[in-house]
């Protein structure tokens, strides 16, 4: 028996891209999702001049919010419901019988959501720039790295959360610890340093906090303790939050690899 004569097999990105393109097409056919994706960030930006606020700090706050809020409310929440819905519709199990690896199936499913997330953050950044609220960031790489790692974390966290989410509807409950708990204490709405010492320590260990800290740090040079740093000190100060972020990715990644369910419970 000879091996089948095959033309060069497609590369991994092309294989994942094929499935991701189909997922993107599905998203575009969902009008409500499209409108929401574009409308929300525009409203966020438009609300600012109406409130008559314009300071340098406001531009930074807006950008930090624009990075943190979509990661939780769009990337994380959307992907929990998507993974659960695809599992309960038996689509995931179907995909798993093909040539893509498990990780590639999960990644391809996440691609459209990640593109919308990136689009929303970009829209707000452009809005802030147009309104003249865009300060020169202290470091360009750090905020981008923070958002990228934050996005990876949200994907694996969503996959891990789907384990204990039975239906897309019950995601409203099962996502609460992250959507409400971790977000409230992330520093998005009030600085972590305003919390009592013990609670602040806990807050810094939550999954979204390091993302907020790192974006804030890169844009303004201000740590979550409120200190201003620059140069090598900036990256020195970034090590702690980066470590926390990577640890969360490792934990959620392990949980996903160990417990992710591809088919409904019978």
């Amino acid at each position: 028996m000879t091996a089948l004569a095959t033309p060069a097999a497609p590369s991994t990105p092309r294989r994942v891209g094929s499935l991701a393109a189909a997922e993107a097409r599905l998203l575009l056919r969902n009008r409500t999702a499209v409108v929401n994706s574009i409308l929300l960030p525009l409203l966020l930006v438009a609300a600012i001049p109406m409130m008559g606020l314009d300071t340098d700090a406001l531009g930074i706050d807006l950008l930090v919010t624009a990075a943190g809020v979509p990661l939780v409310f769009l990337t994380y929440y959307n992907l929990v419901t998507t993974y659960v819905a695809r599992r309960e519709d038996l689509v995931l199990q179907r995909m798993r019988t093909g040539e893509l690896t498990d990780g590639q199936v999960l990644a391809a499913t996440a691609v459209p959501t990640l593109l919308v997330t990136a689009g929303q953050i970009t829209l707000v950044a452009i809005g802030v720039a147009v309104l003249g609220l865009f300060p020169a960031p202290v470091d360009v790489v750090l905020p981008l790295l923070a958002v990228a790692l934050g996005a990876v974390l949200m994907v694996v966290l969503a996959a891990a959360s789907s384990v204990f989410t039975r239906t897309p509807e019950s995601a409203q409950i099962t996502t609460l610890p992250v959507v409400v708990g971790a977000t409230a204490l992330s520093g998005l709405f009030f600085p972590v340093s305003a919390l009592p010492e013990a609670l602040a320590t806990v807050a810094r260990l939550l999954p979204l906090t390091p993302v907020v800290e790192l974006v804030q740090l890169g844009l303004s040079g201000r740590t979550s303790e409120g200190e201003l740093v620059g140069g090598a000190d900036l990256w020195w100060a970034a090590l702690g939050p980066l470590g926390t972020l990577l640890a969360w990715i490792a934990i959620a990644g392990f949980a996903t690899a160990r417990w992710f369910r591809w088919a409904p419970r019978r």
């Binding site: 089948l4 097999a9 094929s18 499935l19 189909a22 019988t97 040539e99 893509l100 591809w262």
Partner: protein, 321 residues
């Protein structure tokens, strides 16, 4: 006594099958497979082999363990014991080596409803190493006329055929079909049978499960009947049918003499509507006819029938464990 292990060679003893000079390695090799869910043993030590160009049908009532066994072959679940090799590899641990040659049709599976038939095939083809052209795949399952229709709007049978087209899209050398024609109309069923036969003629190895005895008779070179997680009967359809006695029926006119009962006969009803069971149909029938001719007796409505697969299946599939 039923064999618990399928014979390694498909040919019944004595048939003049030419032996190939080099033995073809089996495409699928299952040895003493066990699968447990907690305390429940769904598969309890089954073994079989399927060679290229061969179809094995797993028959059994619901809950016999057919799907649980297939999931191990598909690489979707680990075995609790025993070993499974597909093209020489472990389908779970060496998934990458197996997957590109494996076509799988799950018993029930989902496809996103808002993609069209063509888009679904294109997306799947893009993930494969050597897909067939989408147009050819559409034609195979006779969905060319429905190419632009969204999956949501397809009938159940059309969706099943699309599912099959996806399973065949990568030109698999091993095909695992879990109830491929359940819910299909008779015409679609024939389409699927023809497709499977074409693939087998091209050298594919096929394992399928079915409730339909007709399907097993039509497609399978060998059949394994499962009950409560074990193979209770295995062989060609003739071998399986032969495990049950043949039946002879006739009606005697009033006042006609009773025929002598040959030794190899079990009398089910003595008369006037006689029914005999025997494992030696030909000599018993010859004896009966000779007696009738010699005594001038008319055997009204005479029937002589070898046991059917169905009879054999019903005899074992529902028997107490």
């Amino acid at each position: 006594m039923h064999p618990s292990v399928a014979p390694a060679l498909p040919s019944p003893a004595g048939s003049p099958t030419p032996t190939p000079p080099v033995p073809v390695p089996p495409a699928v090799e299952v040895v003493d497979l066990h699968r447990r869910y907690g305390d429940f043993a769904a598969v309890r030590g089954i073994s079989f082999e399927v060679r290229p160009g061969e179809v094995l049908a797993l028959l059994g009532v619901n809950g016999a363990g057919k799907t649980s066994a297939l999931e191990v072959l598909e690489g979707l679940a680990p075995a609790s014991g025993g070993s499974v090799r597909v093209l020489g590899h472990d389908p779970r641990r060496e998934r990458a080596a197996v997957r590109r040659h494996l076509g799988v049709l799950l018993q029930s599976s989902g496809l996103p409803g808002d993609l069209t038939v063509t888009e679904t095939l294109q997306a799947w083809a893009g993930t494969l190493s050597a897909p067939r052209p989408v147009a050819e795949a559409l034609d195979q399952v006779q969905l060319t006329g429905r190419a632009g229709v969204r999956v949501r709007s397809l009938s159940g049978g059309e969706r099943r055929r699309l599912d099959l087209a996806l399973a065949l899209l990568g030109r698999p050398r091993v095909l695992v079909l879990d109830e491929p024609t359940t819910g299909l109309d008779p015409e679609s069923r024939r389409t699927v049978w023809r497709l499977v036969r074409d693939l087998v003629d091209d050298g594919a190895a096929v394992v399928l499960t079915t409730h339909h005895l007709e399907e097993a008779e039509e497609l399978a070179d060998r059949i394994a009947v499962m009950r409560a997680g074990q193979v209770v009967l295995a062989g060609t359809r003739e071998e399986i049918a032969e495990t049950q006695p043949a039946t002879i029926r006739f009606t005697l006119d009033a006042g006609a003499p009773q025929p002598p009962v040959p030794a190899a006969v079990e009398v089910v009803t003595p008369g006037p509507r006689v029914e005999w069971h025997t494992r030696a149909l030909q000599p018993v029938l010859a004896e009966l006819l000779a007696w009738a001719a010699a005594n001038g007796v008319v055997l009204r409505g005479l029937q002589a029938r070898a046991a059917s697969l169905e009879q054999a299946f019903l005899a074992v599939a529902n028997a107490a464990c």
